[in-house]
Symmetry: C2
């Protein structure tokens, strides 16, 4: 750009970068609710496959991620969000690159979020010790997490870790992420046109 | 199959066939909520593109349909559901094959459903004359529909035409389709594990 933008326009043009890994067998309703609403909020959402194949989601929809996880390991993100579903969440838990990215983003105090069965991938990275979290019922092995406080709220915020329960809480989960990162006004600007029932 | 199945097992193995056209620029949250929940209900959901390309949805997700609409024009379906989003709904409205399929299914009194901006495609096929319907606010030209009764309810059932408002009503819309076609028990069996807030 020839003209140096003003401080104000720099601020407005700086989008938050969001990483959403799409594993084979992820829950498509959760994955798409997250990417759709965060995109509506003006975030730059990057979806990554764990392999170079189209992603067959848990209820049959086939999704094409933007790229593969190998291409983004050294890139900075403001937020990482894990959709649930099985076996998707198991793949996220078992993938060394996902685990490495979770740990490095946690060290940088970036926001990390997971829904449904995916909090188990945060547990494996050691991110749930001493935290209050929720998940899909029965999907977290509390005995393997130190000082876990388990909640049955739809969305739970504990410092930089945000967790949620399932497809029926995915919209509240995504809207909460928008509110935490961009404020209540931006959440309302995204929520109103969705036409949710009062 | 060598053995003729009993009447009971025939009944149980007979899945409802659902046609979901995925146009370029469809609303991915609506499209995927529909396909996910109807699949959870045991329906055989077939997604069809209007061309042979991957479908770039309105908020950037890329979906791979099962097949193209040309391959299913002569096949019978129990239900046709149109996701909204723009320009997706415009494509559904302008596509001769979609219009032809809507008209032939309407003649057979099959259930036809549309959400968000997509009821306009039903209007073009002449299916909304004399009906009570809803849609995304401002997306239907009421002056071009004879004896339209417009509702602001989240989901509206008028005989075989079922309409809804937007991404925030997509879950209620899909659950209503399940209830209408398979009964309240099946709706509840799909709804409970979604973990919706009370």
């Amino acid at each position: 750009m020839a003209n140096r933008p003003s401080a104000k326009s720099e601020q407005h043009s700086e989008k938050l970068n969001v990483l959403v890994p799409l594993a084979q067998g992820c829950e498509e309703l959760e994955a798409v609710t997250i990417t759709d609403l965060l995109t509506r909020a003006g975030m730059n959402v990057v979806t990554v496959g764990l392999d170079a194949q189209p992603v067959k989601a848990s209820r049959g929809m086939v999704l094409l991620p933007d790229t593969t996880i190998d291409t983004v390991l050294d890139k900075p993100f403001d937020l990482m969000v894990l959709p649930g579903g099985l076996p998707g969440a198991d793949h996220l838990q078992q993938d060394d690159r996902v685990q490495q990215k979770l740990k490095s983003m946690a060290l940088e105090k970036k926001t990390i979020a997971a829904i449904c069965a995916a909090p188990k991938a945060l547990a494996s990275a050691g991110l749930l010790n001493g935290k209050t979290v929720t998940s899909y019922p029965g999907s977290l092995d509390a005995s393997q997490i130190k000082d876990l406080e388990y909640s049955e709220e739809s969305v739970v915020i504990d410092s930089n870790i945000i967790t949620s329960r399932g497809p029926g809480t995915a919209m509240d989960f995504a809207l909460t992420l928008i509110e935490v990162l961009l404020g209540k006004e931006q959440r309302e600007a995204v929520e109103a046109p969705l036409m949710r029932p009062h």
